[in-house]
């Protein structure tokens, strides 16, 4: 495994203010702390070349996890190993092997042309000229980097700047790249371009990518695997397909009928497979299952004048939304 996190915990402590002046003064000398568990017992492994999405609602602990993986935050307990390094202990040597994009921060020089920022990063990471040119070539060819190569960063659009940030994170040919909200605020065209570039580098160069995003498109288009974190805990670790199967209310057939829907529902409910049947607006829905293949379903519903029939499944966005909602309800009930 290129990335291994074992029982990661991160607790933030903040001083509690006293109610009275006396209490406040006493707490100056002997502070009382409140503790917030931002990440709780999170364990996972990521193999070389994988592209994994770390998702969860706001405040779930995604950024804290990324910070621990990039070495800028120490775990309260547990261990992290990335490319054989302890990110926090070996930070200076370790950061040469990773690329990082924090969507709301910049590693570019605002007042200087783009090329100067890249030359500075080349010097900082000691990137050989051949590697530098090779790493940039894809972004020049596919991303149109040359169009604004000589312009000061402050004159770039958000999309152009993010393209530069992502190119900068890949500049030193890192083994793994952490992308924290890389497409935030971008238009559809720019998002698509960005995703394609990341996908190409992940596929062709075998660079491992861990991406956090609230954009379902990023997750669907880029990642093969989902790490779903909520209230600091890892709630799901598996493929997107597996998530689709296990989350939400599954896959259904929906039929619009001209005949008696109640009679049709009774007929399907009496099928030996014992599948769930429900009304949904004008549609009659039955669970998709191999025990009731489509030809047999059509045959059963034929007497009820089928106007339309279609497969129904929840979008990933709906599934994630349901997942987050369930987490909130669970947390409220636990409280």
């Amino acid at each position: 495994m290129l990335i291994r996190a074992e029982q990661l915990n991160r607790v933030y402590r903040s001083p509690l203010s006293g109610q009275s002046w006396g209490e406040r003064f006493a707490r100056l000398l002997r502070p009382v702390w409140s503790e917030t568990h931002s990440v709780r017992d999170v364990s996972f492994g990521i193999a070389r070349g994988e592209c994994v999405a770390l998702v969860g609602p706001n405040g779930a602990g995604k950024s804290t996890t990324i910070k621990m993986l990039t070495g800028i935050l120490a775990p309260s307990s547990g261990s992290v190993s990335v490319a054989g390094f302890d990110p926090q202990r070996d930070r200076r040597a370790y950061v040469k092997h990773i690329g990082v994009v924090f969507g709301q921060r910049s590693q570019l020089w605002w007042d200087l042309p783009v090329q100067d920022s890249f030359r500075i990063l080349q010097a900082l990471f000691a990137v050989p000229e051949a590697t530098y040119q090779q790493q940039l070539s894809l972004f020049r060819r596919e991303g149109g980097l040359d169009e604004f190569w000589l312009r000061p960063v402050r004159t770039l659009s958000l999309g152009q700047r993010m393209l530069c940030e992502i190119a900068a994170s890949f500049l030193h040919a890192p083994e793994v790249v952490f992308l924290d909200e890389p497409t935030i605020g971008l238009d559809l065209e720019m998002k698509a371009r960005m995703r394609e570039l990341i996908r190409q580098i992940n596929r062709d160069a075998g660079t491992t990518v861990l991406i956090t995003s609230h954009d379902v498109g990023d997750i669907e288009k880029l990642s093969q695997r989902l790490l779903l974190i909520d209230h600091g805990q890892l709630k799901f670790d598996g493929s997107l397909a597996h998530f689709r199967q296990s989350a939400g209310d599954g896959h259904w057939w929906a039929a619009k009928l001209g005949g008696d829907r109640d009679a049709a529902q009774a007929l399907l409910a009496g099928h030996p497979a014992g599948l769930a049947v429900r009304h949904n607006g004008d549609w009659l829905e039955v669970v998709r299952d191999e025990r009731l293949p489509l030809p047999e379903l059509l045959q059963l519903l034929a007497p009820f004048a089928i106007h339309d029939i279609k497969p129904v499944e929840q979008s990933l966005e709906d599934l994630l939304h349901g997942f987050y909602l369930a987490g909130k309800v669970g947390a409220r009930e636990a409280a």
Partner: protein, 260 residues
């Protein structure tokens, strides 16, 4: 070698950022010359009825103060403001994902800014010296330049340490203004230390204060000849570098361990 190249690139970049604002440069130079002109008349007034004060004649005192004020304008860098801003905005986290020491990064950038400011302020200083009929006469340029380098290290380290206070306080204006006032007054940039009582002068020379401005100015104006003051200054520069390094480590520990 690669670290040296990285420092050069950072210095060059920040130097360019500092120097590219043409209007800003012009305003700074005009403001500087106006300040020097006022300084000239202030000191002329002080010496109106007395040709010598604290053992210094008008030309020596004015040369000292004008040179010290010029050094203050050139060598003092906004490393404190920059670092505090980066800490408050969280930008410092991005810098920690780059393979370079935080103090070295800011030091290289400060050096670039100083070089750029020197390029456009030294001609203005030369113009003032010519207008006022003053001149610099160092007994040894190598000692004077070494002293200037030490002065830069002292001022940068102090600014860096103050900037690290961004982890503790939201608004650093008061701290930075106090630091600048103390450094100028006790460092001999506002008035030569010869105007201080003898005991205070001795104390300020042993402590780092005199070495912010008084020592390099004394070398530049030919008041100092031997290397003794430079050695004390160099010792303080090393001590400040060590202290800045330790403070940086402590702050990074706070950031990494406590999450700031």
């Amino acid at each position: 070698m690669s670290m040296l190249r990285a420092c050069y690139q950072l210095a060059l970049a920040n130097g360019r950022v500092t120097a590219t604002d043409r209007k800003g440069r012009l305003i700074i130079c005009v403001g500087y010359l106006l300040g020097m002109w006022l300084l000239y008349w202030l000191w002329r007034g002080l010496y109106l009825n007395d040709p010598s004060r604290a053992g210094l004649d008008f030309a020596t005192a004015l040369t000292h103060v004008a040179t010290a004020q010029t050094l203050f304008a050139i060598i003092t860098t906004p490393a404190d403001w920059r670092l505090a801003r980066e800490i408050r905005s969280g930008e410092v986290a991005s810098q920690l994902t780059q393979p370079m020491n935080l103090a070295l990064r800011h030091g290289a950038m400060a050096l670039g800014a100083v070089a750029a400011k020197a390029l456009y302020m030294l001609p203005a200083f030369a113009l003032f010296l010519w207008w006022a009929g003053l001149n610099l006469a160092p007994s040894s340029w190598p000692l004077a330049l070494a002293s200037l380098a030490c002065s830069f290290v002292l001022l940068f380290c102090l600014a860096f340490i103050v900037g690290l206070a961004g982890f503790l306080a939201t608004d650093l204006w008061g701290i930075i203004a106090s630091k600048d006032a103390v450094v100028q007054f006790l460092g001999g940039a506002l008035i030569p230390l010869a105007f201080f009582p003898p005991t205070a002068q001795t104390l300020l020379h042993v402590l780092p204060f005199a070495h912010f401005f008084n020592t390099p100015v004394a070398y530049l104006t030919g008041q100092l000849h031997g290397p003794e003051s430079l050695l004390i200054q160099a010792c303080w520069a090393l001590a400040f570098m060590l202290f800045a390094h330790l403070a940086s480590l402590q702050v990074q520990r706070k950031l990494v361990v406590f999450g700031a």
